[in-house]
Subunit: 593 residues, 2 copies
């Protein structure tokens, strides 16, 4: 039985003899989506959620994951002996706090894979343990790749071909970006920077890869010194047009860094993505006094898109709109025409429409194709086998996106496929009202996303409705579909919205066992104008796909909201009408009326 | 010349020979409004603003104050040689940071009045100086009452008569409150609590005084042990119905505390209101190991009003409404009738209407009576001599409130007294729209004020308008007109709004040289209802005074907002009509139509 495999693996780890072993669901770069090699939690526990950490003690095994995966974890952990620990709930006990109260015999010996734990995470753990057990009451043991001895067919570090983006696409050469970064280092009192976040490296070097599902990154680290950029990467031959960027192997930091120790001076690095194991290595080379921790300036810089990037992104959303309209036309005519289509088939069809676009490089995340009650799980994972059939009644939700060489997209549409209940119609309309109200927002510069999140929620709150996820996340330029530093959600995040930032606007509503609704457009922050009261910003919608109006409860929208909706659908039709087959175009014309 | 007096006083302080002397605008209890004895900044500098700290070095004298007082400080400091340092602006350099870069010769010797600096403030200062000058590079010298040697006629600590509130008014006896507090102390791992915030002591002992303008507090401190409450206060004979509350003099902490050292055990105290001098004293008695710093639980508890308190507060707002309507009637008929009335006279008249109410105990803050361009200063201080005449055109603003034995009020009305410009009408309507939108808000429990502040601002932001102050502050029950812990403003403050909290709702708009508008109602947070999505809260308006509709630009309000306004004025008229003289009642009927 499959369960036994996982129970056995837990036992094997126990036999290492530590009081606790920690395994995380991330990679040596704190990536959101790790390559198969780093799906350690999945290999041990069978849990396939995108976020989850494992702690195995001699008398307990627990998986820590958030509300998106409670149901899935419940199913996948059955029979493994691993218990679910809920995170992002009020009663949450995070791993450091849990470990701090678990043991009585000292010293407590806790092992972890230092490659897959950030410096920030280990420091937090260390503080909690020190407080609980005293400075000599515990031992933290870094065991890089500790699963290797059990996981015989563990995949290697991937090294897919890379793709170089030119200035016409990125708007900035890697030389210009490196010059900017060196200036930032000077401001921070440093001479060099060591980068470990894959999206930051991809942005800085204008390079993309296929090492990881959904994210076009190249697994690597990068040391930028006053004179050169040393790229620690597997099997990349040469960096074009860059005399001062040199390649070294992914795992040969030590020699190359030793050679350039003098030149590096003080090194800036971000502890939220630098892993503990690599930190120890660079500490040995440079000394703690030469390492400066701080938030990488690349994060904010890459979130503010330049004109060329925006040109590409606008194009991506139009191309993506064509794929979406083709899909929605196919779905509606098929389902209403009596065809039996499953969620999985619809998902595959969606992907095939995107794949037809020139410059398509894969999806930007796993399609969520969910019918009826399945859509009530905001992060429903459509099963390949046995997914639900889409019936000609109620609501169907599809949340999907593409990676194109000129941009990254993300869109959700919820559509009626036949008769809907009054509650479905009301919920549908109120979620739409929420999305429109945030779209129409104007706010002074300096305003953070958490300060305007209520604008998207108040239309739902008014009738005691709400949704449990964030309203908006940043989106990269042919990079991650989730990026910081901005967000639109209730959690305090002081990062102001800035002109050039691309963010999702995706309120939702989920009724367990009934239906789920989410409307998602992507918006660009732009300047609205200046007055005696300062400079004000607003949003421009980038997404180009009609919004179904047939089930709207008109009286729940005010005049301004109705005007916006009418204008939006009109613009969508105007942009797309000549890019669609005649029958699709005719269908869209009716939809946009 | 008056200026010379202040310049001389600065010089006298310089002659004490310190590198820097710090004086604060507060008292030994970190009060917002200090008694005359503690107006040290005013005595030295002539600055009369409610917030301001002074730093005098051998070559500089500076006053730190916020945007409310920039103009006032500019005028009052002229000729004193004291420079204005702006706080609450992006380029702010707070006193600790400023002192940290000022000196080259070590050790730096900085004196301050430890009675008028909180532990939190001194710690902050200490950290900044340690970082700048090293542990041995500076000396912080506590000189309690250091002005005494120059300020010969310095007022004494006040000791006005006290007033005891009974259970029928407060809803809870002091015994019940003390029992609750002792329970809180247990939870915090402590046996005792030392209270120094005057509003907390007044709330806990159900006592009120007249020691301070506007705030009905008794200057005192309080030590609550497992057995007794030791009240350190001047000249209060006896505490009624309380066998376990004993009085000692205001300044005799030492002996009384020494006697009860054993009994006290671990003592909880709040470093944000405990002053440094007193901290040193209790540290000597109890030892640092027995002092636990934390936020006082009284702050949150007293912010959540009980039923009896709410009964009183509702009554207070109705009585206050009668005074307001009488005032507005008098003002309108007088000004339109050709009488020459100044802002000061109007302010006095307002006070006289309040004073006629049974149970009136003074104003809750200094009336802001401002005509025309004067109202563009959100904290305009109406001068006794030479205040502006109120003309029969444009807008007049009055922000005022009363202290009654059954509640505290605060209200702002802006009224047209004749012809208004289009901009005045538009601004008036949009500020009203802002106030109504916040009034109508529904939000899930756990929501903090900063998360709904945008609801009151978006109506202004939409047309690139904004205001620079907070939207709402907590209000006490016959206590301070400003109280925490909740607030409705842009600044992050994680305190959720809770049912029973009383908060102001006061958006505004200020055009320098033209006009100022503010509409302020006070709202009670209450439960709105429960649903599948949790428990939701909303606001009930407590303020009972009509809102002038004659200059409203109708099309700027939506139907829901117009409905609210109509209903509100209707309710106001219904409640007040029989409490007003016939002519005022008739006038109000027209206003509320």
């Amino acid at each position: 039985m499959a369960e036994n495999v996982f129970a056995q693996r837990v036992e094997q780890i126990r036999n290492l003899g530590y009081d606790a072993v920690i395994l995380t669901g991330t990679d040596p770069h704190a990536s959101e989506y790790p390559a198969p090699r780093w799906k350690q939690v999945e290999w041990v526990s069978g849990f396939t959620g995108e976020a989850g950490d494992l702690v195995i003690t001699q008398d307990h095994a627990g998986l820590w994951t958030d509300s998106r995966y409670f149901i899935q974890a419940g199913k996948q952990l059955a029979g493994t002996g691993i218990e679910l620990h809920k995170t992002r709930v009020p009663e949450e006990v995070p791993i450091p706090a849990w470990l701090a109260t678990r043991f009585t015999q000292k010293p407590v010996r806790i092992a972890f894979d230092g490659l897959c734990q950030s410096v920030a995470a280990v420091n937090e753990l260390d503080n909690a343990l020190k407080k609980a057990y005293g400075p000599d009451g515990y031992e933290l043991i870094d065991r890089p790749d500790l699963l290797d001895e059990f996981w015989k067919d563990r995949p290697a570090v991937p090294h897919s071909p890379v793709m170089w983006l030119d200035e016409k696409t990125t708007g900035e050469t890697r030389k210009e970006k490196l010059t900017w970064l060196r200036g930032e280092m000077k401001k921070a009192g440093c001479q060099s920077m060591f980068l470990t976040a894959l999206d930051e490296i991809a942005w800085l070097l204008n390079v993309r890869g296929e090492d990881i599902d959904y994210n076009p990154y190249v697994i690597s680290t990068l040391l930028v010194t006053p004179q050169v950029a040393l790229w620690f990467v597997r099997n990349v031959e040469e960096v074009p047009d860059a005399k001062d960027v040199f390649n070294a192997g992914y795992n040969v930091l030590e020699e190359a860094m030793n050679e350039r120790r003098e030149e590096c001076g003080r090194i800036f690095t971000d502890p939220s993505t630098l892993n503990w194991h690599t930190y120890k290595l660079i500490r040995n080379i440079f000394g703690d006094e030469n390492i400066v921790f701080g938030t990488s300036p690349v994060i904010l810089r890459k979130a503010v898109k330049n004109k060329k990037e925006l040109d590409g992104i606008r194009r991506a959303f139009i191309e993506d709109g064509v794929a979406m309209e083709n899909f929605l036309y196919w779905l509606e005519t098929s389902v209403k025409g009596g065809a039996r289509i499953t969620e999985w088939e619809a998902s595959e069809k969606m992907t095939s429409f995107r794949a037809a676009i020139e410059g398509y490089r894969g999806n930007s995340f796993e399609n969520i194709s969910a019918y009826g009650a399945n859509a009530a799980l905001p992060h429903y994972s459509t099963p390949r086998e046995g997914s639900a059939e889409i019936k000609p009644r109620g609501l169907y939700l599809i949340d999907s996106g593409g990676q194109y060489t000129f941009g990254t997209t993300d869109i959700t549409r919820t559509v009626p496929l036949g008769r809907c209940t009054r509650q479905e119609k009301e919920d549908y309309t109120l979620v739409l009202k929420a999305m429109i109200d945030l779209t129409l927002a104007v706010f002074p510069e300096g305003t953070a996303g958490c300060q305007i999140d209520a604008l998207a929620r108040e239309p739902l709150w008014r009738s005691l409705r709400n949704f449990g996820h964030g309203t908006g996340h940043g989106i990269g330029f042919y990079l991650g579909v989730h990026e910081g530093p901005q967000s639109i959600r209730q959690n305090f995040n002081s990062q102001p919205m800035l002109p050039g930032m691309v963010t999702s606007n995706e309120p939702g509503l989920y009724r367990e066992g009934k239906h789920g609704i989410r409307h998602e457009n992507i918006v660009l922050c732009r300047e609205e104008g200046k007055s005696d009261f300062g400079r004000f910003l607003s949003f421009e919608t980038l997404t180009c796909c009609h919004i179904e109006t047939s089930i709207i409860k008109k009286k729940l929208l005010n005049e301004e909201e109705r005007d916006w909706l009418r204008a939006y659908n009109r613009v969508v039709y105007r942009i797309l009408k000549n890019r669609l087959a005649p029958e699709v175009s005719r269908w869209l014309k009716k939809k946009c009326r």
